[in-house]
Symmetry: C2
């Protein structure tokens, strides 16, 4: 591929920084590492940290013992802890430590995977597309070749392969995974310590959270013995030390155009925040009914707040005039490079303008996009998915919506739709909460869209929101996975004949939703087509000097333990147990009224004198991470475990759009704190011994 | 005086808030205190806290024992500690505790005063001005009456009386003081603990500073026994508790017009900050010469940084669009009230526009105002003052600059000019530092004004800045107070005949400086005249419902111990010893490289185990204070000492222009920390016993 000269490249890379980047394992920035840190990891080092890492689906974990012990965040297993808790045994509040392996508790429904193999299939797929083929035929040829490669690889290895597109199509890979399904809880601290400071301190450094949990991977009923696991460091970190984070950053939007960032800043994120405010208000309304209700929504509210704070940080980043100037300049530089190349000009010259037009269309659809849907009902969401599945399967493949076209895609959809837990809120099984959310969702839609909007007319049918919600939630049987399975298997006939009130509603709504979806697809098609053209141009100009946007696949990033300026001072690189107690007592201890997020479990007060108060608890480091990196191992030059990533600072939320090494910091639990807590607070020297191999 | 109706008053007071206000002792907001806190202080309570408080000149202190022990901040006595320190005995670095009264060290040059009596003389002065007198004659009559009142009061009481103008002339008072000159050092911690976190943590909460010192007032060679002193509280504070701060807030500019605030925002403060940056750079250049040089400028740099951070906070406040809107609205409300009253319209209707014009003139003079002067030389500053004094005294009174008109004013000037320590920098006695500052000051003036500017031509006389500075500093004798005294007594003849190189320079410069001063006086006259008209209109509309701007006179303010939102979370109301150690160890302890502001003296590490780590160290409270409040006692409802004010948060620096109770917080040392440190760290139970009366 044609590349610019080195000088032109340098001039055209105004936003590229040393620490910037979530790098793929085939393309580590070895030159930068050597030049800046005099560090040259060999193939063994790279393979070792990769093979010790697991994807937990939305989180990351790592093997930390030869007997399959996995370290991740408390907030990565919190959903499981919540589901296994009852009024009498509250694993979230009281924590848990298995004194023996017999006591380890099975966590149902989890799938952990390790990335065992990576194959670059870009050229093979390209070759499969014969010259002169039309667009559709080319796509079909590509898909066929990918299916063939997948089958070959899986047969040869016994692994499960995923197609991975990088650089928005610039490269195509096959990633092969080993899968684990038998996951058991070994240890988790009390939520008061794991999420000390609650929503207030979330994303705020200095931080004092023991946000870890430990599970064990079993295979065939016995602890799994991984070929690779991370050794627990005995040295410990200090300011300036180089760290690496291995994990699965979920999504960044750094390669969006400037117009898209402005859309997010002025419309997209503000709309998200308004919606989150409303969700929180409804959950709080529910929580006020009594203590048990409050307990039920506690983690849901934390989740909503978490999303809001992250988006507020992103929004602040987009409002930073200096950063936006840098982004605009980078775009101008790429545009200039494109303008100098007739071929790139032909393919991409108008792409920025087309995307800007598409954001105008997006803006016009925003209100409907927010209000036309499941009206906050998880069960209605399921019903809508079942109806759509039935409708789409009746259509010829080329007329279907994208996600209904491949057999693989359909299988994933069906599996998800027939599973036990559904929806972000998981409230399907809680009719009282479901009814409240649905009622408020209907009221909001009616207010936002007006009483004459077809969606409002169809869903309310002239009745009151509360009555519609109550009747549907009381009458539905969709919470039973067997009922959903029967509807999936019964196809369009079963769905059409169903008298389930949620399905009845969904049948009425589907044409309206489909109409909106098609308008959105038109916009998305423009954004994707021209986004891909720009991405290809970028790849043509810069190659792999810029890492690809995060896509939830395995990445490695690096940087030093570092302070940063905030709040008028410099933030300390480490916090300690002393800081945990300072913030606890500073709020008035467990007697504090009004503000209770800094309370501590009694044993933490009883055993304060046993702890070495100087022990580092959390640290801040200049590594480029984002959501999905939660639970990532932090390793040192030796590839040893020194920390457990669990958070970023507020400034780091701008990382969705750009990495700012001056202030963007990730926040990790120091490995020394985990070990000390296991021994001195949780009476679990056996786990400490397993971790340290002593 | 004519007042608006209660409703109109309410509508017209958009910026008045409950906690807003530095109230004079004759006008405590008793109604608000009763309504909000159910607290009704009696005359005894009010007199007791007033008579226990001292003004130290720029700081505040309070009597805390029957034997004349005074509590104030470390940074209020730091200048004295620095002056008494030598290479062998570093009172700043090592701290000091007198084991017996014999060991107490006299601090020369200090004057402490207590406000013993307050007389409202507004009406008496008004009566002295007979109807029909011209402006000049009226002013003379007022001055004569004030002199007469002062003489009467002083004769009757033995106190020293000051004229105090409040509400920009709305009220005139006589404040009577008892004066103390024999002040001896009793205790001061190490600066590492008193100013823990150095410049970085200054103005940043959470804070961990033991910023106290103790001195004893002597009279006739014996400890003074004050009629009132504050009792040390045995209860301690908690979140939400009501606190009072008694002290001498120096200056606020809240009653400026909106145009003046915009001038400060866009020109005044930015110019200040540029100048401070330059001063700091020169001091750092000096400090790099070696460790002893660094020691010499350490406190000077802290002072410069302190000023910069405060101004940056003020500037951020002026950039807060919401607050500026509130201020603009308040101005509009007052303008509307003025417009409804023909008499006020006649006097004040055009005043806002006149002030806005004056700020344009100010802008035009800014460059000269910054560069035409003493060129950073303390000694040249003295020489200029001596020359001007001699010139002005030759003129008839009405042609003199304001400060040379009254006999009292002249006396103050002469006393200051013949004292031992001169200038903010106190560097007159350090020829090496003086030479560097002067050289750089001359270079800056030449660069800023250009080589042809009369000031540059006159001061350089074609020579190089370094040569001019070296010759003048080496040749001058003005560091000798006796030389200055002789020049003052010798009048114009002595000054004209003096061959002292600084005086020679000053004679050449005086006409240029005087020309600039006259232009500035013209602007100031407009600002003062129309500022006073607006103030009178405000007093006519609102009366004493709004407290007067701070003027360095004694005030009381109140508010609760409170959290506030910052950095994405809520700030803890208290910090503890645990927090001090957290920040120390979090930075790597005493082994930390690069960042050394969080080091601790060895005895603080050796004795960590002796301290109760839960003890509150600092706290944040919603009281309205500003510079000059440093060292103010914090008292509870019983009038007992619970804390020692030493700082505000960054957000509080906007308090120069407006008080924002959401985020403006003062920061105080908790009285419990002082007591515990005296006993457990400093082995001074005798002082603890004196404070607690045990």
């Amino acid at each position: 591929m044609r590349r610019l000269s080195a000088l032109a490249l340098l001039l055209a890379l105004p936003i590229l920084r040393a620490e910037d980047g979530m790098w793929t394992f085939d393309n580590l920035p070895l030159k930068q590492l050597k030049e800046k840190y005099a560090f040259e990891p060999g193939k063994d080092w790279i393979d070792h940290v990769r093979l010790s890492t697991l994807t937990l689906g939305g989180c990351t974990g790592s093997f930390v013992s030869a007997d399959g012990l996995v370290l991740t965040n408390h907030h990565c297993t919190r959903g499981s802890l919540q589901r296994l808790s009852t009024k009498d045994r509250d694993l979230v509040k009281d924590g848990f430590v298995a004194a023996t392996r017999d006591q380890e508790i099975k966590l149902p429904g989890l799938t952990y995977r390790t990335l065992m193999a990576m194959e670059n299939v870009t050229e093979r797929v390209a070759k499969a597309v014969k010259p002169g083929l039309g667009e559709k035929a080319a796509a079909a040829a590509r898909a066929k070749e990918l299916d063939a490669i997948k089958a070959e690889l899986e047969k040869a290895s016994g692994l499960t392969y995923d197609v991975v597109n990088l650089y928005q199509g610039g490269e195509t890979w096959m990633y092969g995974f080993k899968t684990f399904k038998d996951i058991r809880l070994v240890a988790a601290p009390e939520i008061a310590v794991a999420a000390f400071g609650g929503d207030y301190d979330n994303f705020t450094y200095p931080r004092h959270d023991l946000d870890f949990s430990m599970v064990r991977v079993y295979e065939n009923g016995k602890p799994y013995h991984p070929a690779h696991h991370l050794t627990w460091s005995t040295e410990g970190l200090k300011m300036g030390d180089l760290t690496f984070v291995v994990g699965h950053p979920g999504r960044t939007s750094r390669l969006q155009t400037f117009a898209q960032m402005k859309y997010d800043r002025d419309f997209g994120i503000p709309a998200y925040l308004r919606n989150a405010d409303r969700t929180r208000a409804i959950l709080e309304e529910y929580g006020k009914r009594d203590a048990e209700h409050a307990r039920q929504v506690q983690t849901l509210i934390l989740g909503v707040n978490n999303g809001s704070k992250a988006n507020e940080g992103s929004l602040a980043g987009l409002k930073d005039a200096e950063a936006m100037k840098r982004i605009e300049d980078a775009e101008k530089a790429l545009k200039a490079a494109v303008a100098k190349d007739p071929k790139l000009t032909a393919s991409t010259g108008k792409s920025w303008a087309r995307i800007e037009q598409a954001t105008q269309l997006q803006k016009g659809l925003l209100k409907e996009a927010r209000s036309v849907g499941s009206a906050r009902s998880t069960t209605l969401g399921q019903a809508l998915a079942l109806v759509r599945l039935a409708e789409q399967q009746e259509l010829p493949v080329e007329k279907r919506l994208t996600e209904y076209r491949s057999e693989g895609g359909l299988k994933v959809l069906k599996t998800r739709l027939s599973g036990p837990a559904m929806g972000m809120m998981g409230q399907g099984a809680n009719p009282e909460l479901e009814t409240l959310l649905f009622t408020r969702g209907l009221e909001d839609a009616a207010r936002e869209l007006g009483p004459q909007h077809p969606f409002v007319v169809a869903i309310l049918g002239g009745k009151k929101p509360a009555d519609v919600a109550k009747a549907a939630v009381e009458g539905t049987k969709l919470n039973d996975p067997a009922v959903r399975k029967a509807l999936i298997e019964g196809g369009k006939k079963a769905v059409t004949e169903s008298g389930d009130p949620m399905i009845v509603l969904a049948r009425k709504l589907e044409p309206i939703l489909l109409g909106l979806r098609k308008k959105q697809d038109d916009v998305r098609a423009i954004l994707e087509e021209h986004g891909a053209r720009i991405a290809k141009a970028r790849f043509a100009v810069y190659g792999k000097a810029l890492p690809p946007d995060a896509t939830g696949t395995l990445r490695i990033t690096y940087g030093a333990v570092a302070t940063y300026p905030a709040n008028g001072t410099l933030q300390q690189p480490f916090t300690t147990w002393a800081g945990l107690y300072d913030r606890h007592f500073g709020w008035g201890g467990n007697e504090a009224k009004d503000y209770t997020d800094w309370r501590l479990p009694q044993r933490w007060l009883d055993r304060m004198g046993k702890l070495d108060l100087r022990t580092p608890l959390n640290f801040s480091h200049a590594v480029d991470t984002t959501g999905g990196n939660s639970g990532s191992p932090v390793v040192n030059r030796k590839g040893e475990l020194v920390g457990l990533l669990f958070d970023g600072n507020i400034e780091g939320n701008a990382g969705r759009y750009y990495y700012d090494e001056k202030v963007n910091r990730s926040v990790s639990v120091d490995a020394r704190a985990i070990l000390e807590a296991l021994v001195k607070i949780y009476d679990a020297p056996h786990l400490a011994a397993e971790l340290t191999g002593k």
